[in-house]
Amino acid sequence: MTAIPVRPGTRGPRRFREMSGRVGWGVVAWIVAIAFFLPVLWMVITAFKPESAAETWPPQFVFRPTLAEFRLVFTGMGPFLTHSVIATVGSTILVLLLGVPAAYALSVYPIRRWRDGLFFFISTKMLPIVAAIGPLYVIAEHTHLLDSIWLLIILYTAMNLPLAIWMIRSFMLEVPSELLEAARLDGAGRIREITGVIMPIISPGLVSTALICVIFAWNELFLALNLTVTNAATMPMYLISSVPQEGLYIAHLSAAATVASVPVIAVGWIAQRSLVRGLSMGAIK
């Protein structure tokens, strides 16, 4: 034990400063959190209003909640939801299937010029997508993939792959090299090393990578809007289509947006448990 000399008179103010600092940051954190959450809350509340109560000024806080708008949303949503699920799940699976081996080749046993490879992947994200839409359209037309769900799967995979590779690579770098050497001594081949040793350890990282891919793919609008019409139109397009040419639509749009947000929030909620688990507890020491 080390005795810390306490000068009378200094302890109180310092304690107060520490306390007030902690409280101050807490207040700031709550203000920011609420500022982010309020629009979402407003959207959900509005979704339960009748259209006539949605767009009044001052806003109505007391109203008779109704599910009418939701009923309307659900009737037209079916195909859009299906397309979104297929494009999102399909592209996320493809991203993981391609991203894990790619990240392995860039981290665990790095290929020659792995730095260039890594930079190439991220450089594809530097071009604004608007600049690529023209060529993409032409290619899609020539390959007869316009308005096809396959096109969205391919594009969303390409869109998310660079980030996924960077993320998975950083998780793989955390895997202790002794574990991989032990696996090599035990006779595990490359495939077994990835599936049996690396992937179980980085599984929380893979879940968070998948979550981000799901969010990006689910919310993607620009490509879907320009390259699909009906056969592959996704949820974000449904949101746009629920804005009518005339009349009131805020409550309807809010209901549609609420429904569109639910899957992402649900996936995030489920993934949360896996995210907080430690990366490699018990492997070392």
Binding site: E181, L185, D186, S280, G282, I284, K285
Partner: protein
């Protein structure tokens, strides 16, 4: 069962830098417990990893049981390794960890379970632990699981890379004797890396001392202690370390702190033949005998370290220079500040070349 041979095996990490392992020649007999010891950067771990196949060779070759394995992948070398941090698979149970290599070899489920249980019994691992995950085990248990994973394979050679360094002092001493005893029982050739010379001396049948990537000496613990070939080995083996001081030569012997200590004939002859005017004189702490005022070597005690059975005296000799350490009986050691004299037997002295560090025969 196999012997292991390093034949001028070298490993160079970066050009222009000295090799991490420089033309290592080492023959390890079948069933022998060989300890590689040296300070950090001496190349001992690299040498072990070369044998494991985790580090490629830049020259020479490595043989296991008369088979050249230089270019054989690790899994086909029939070896098992215990890592410093154990490297247990965190998502697998203890039984799965221990049986993983067997599974990779295609052994059946029953056979795996049987051999895992056998290894667990050998290591006094409670069977209820077999279904636990590594993070639910204590440090000592993890260490034993890591040992078990090696034993289960029934390999030709065990490789151990400082397997005790993560244990606390008491457990380390316990486990040390357990490993030595187990190795004796199994009779499997073992190469063991440590930086701890006490571990090396207590466990090894023979000990190879490495420094700067070069093998300094490979001999039995007693031989290393009694006949170190050079200044490095003399200073590294033995605890506390040998007192080494550069002293001028005179007609009668070597002059340490104003006192002329007579050198044995062959030692003086070797020094003369080498044309030296000074030598590095080495005396082990246990060979400085307190002599109640009648000794030839005087000094003042500046520090007393009580170890119980012994006490270590740090003594400043007249004329300055580094203090020497002497081992005294623990019961009534001299007090700090006391003036003491020591007696040294001439045959207990070592002499080394001041430039090359080589032993001057004595």
């Amino acid at each position: 069962m196999a012997q292991v041979n390093y034949v001028s095996a070298s490993r160079v990490y970066t050009k222009d830098a000295p090799p991490a392992v420089d033309a290592l020649d080492l023959d390890i007999k079948d069933g022998e417990f060989m300890v590689l010891v040296g300070p950090s950067g001496s190349g001992k771990t690299t040498a072990l990893r070369m044998l494991a196949g985790l580090e490629p060779l830049d020259g020479g070759r490595v043989e296991i049981g008369d088979r050249d394995v230089t270019f054989v992948p690790p899994k086909d070398r029939d070896i098992a390794m215990v890592f410093q941090n154990y490297a247990l698979y965190p998502q697998k149970t203890v039984a799965e960890n221990m049986g993983f290599a067997l599974k990779m070899q295609g052994a059946g489920k029953d056979e795996r379970a049987r051999r895992v249980r056998e290894a667990a019994r050998l290591l006094d691992l409670d069977e209820s632990l077999l279904s636990r995950k590594p993070k639910q085990l204590s440090g000592g248990q993890r260490q034993r699981v890591a040992m078990g994973r090696a034993i289960v394979r029934e390999p030709k050679v065990f490789l151990m890379d400082e397997p005790l360094s993560n244990l606390d002092a008491k457990l380390r001493v316990q486990t040390r004797s357990q490993i030595a005893e187990l190795q004796h029982r199994l009779g499997v050739t073992t190469v063991y890396v440590t930086h701890d010379q006490v571990e090396a001396m207590t466990m090894g049948h023979r000990v190879a001392v490495l420094s700067g990537g070069k093998l300094q000496q490979c001999a039995s613990p007693r031989e290393l202690y009694e006949n170190p070939v050079n200044e490095f080995v003399a200073g590294f083996i033995g605890s506390p370390a040998m007192n080494l001081q550069t002293v001028p030569l005179t007609d009668g012997g070597a002059k340490l702190a104003g006192t002329v200590l007579p050198l044995p004939g062959p030692m003086a002859g070797a020094a003369k033949a080498a044309g030296l005017s000074e030598i590095v004189l080495g005396i082990r702490p246990e060979h400085l005998h307190l002599a109640n005022g009648s000794g030839e070597l005087p000094g003042d005690v500046i520090l007393v370290e009580e170890l119980g059975a012994d006490a270590l005296l740090h003594v400043r000799l007249p004329g300055g220079g580094d203090p020497v350490v002497a081992r005294a009986e623990g019961r009534r050691p001299p007090a700090m500040g006391q003036h003491v004299t020591f007696h040294v037997q001439p045959e207990d002295m070592f002499a080394f070349h001041p430039v090359t560090g080589a032993r001057l025969a004595g």
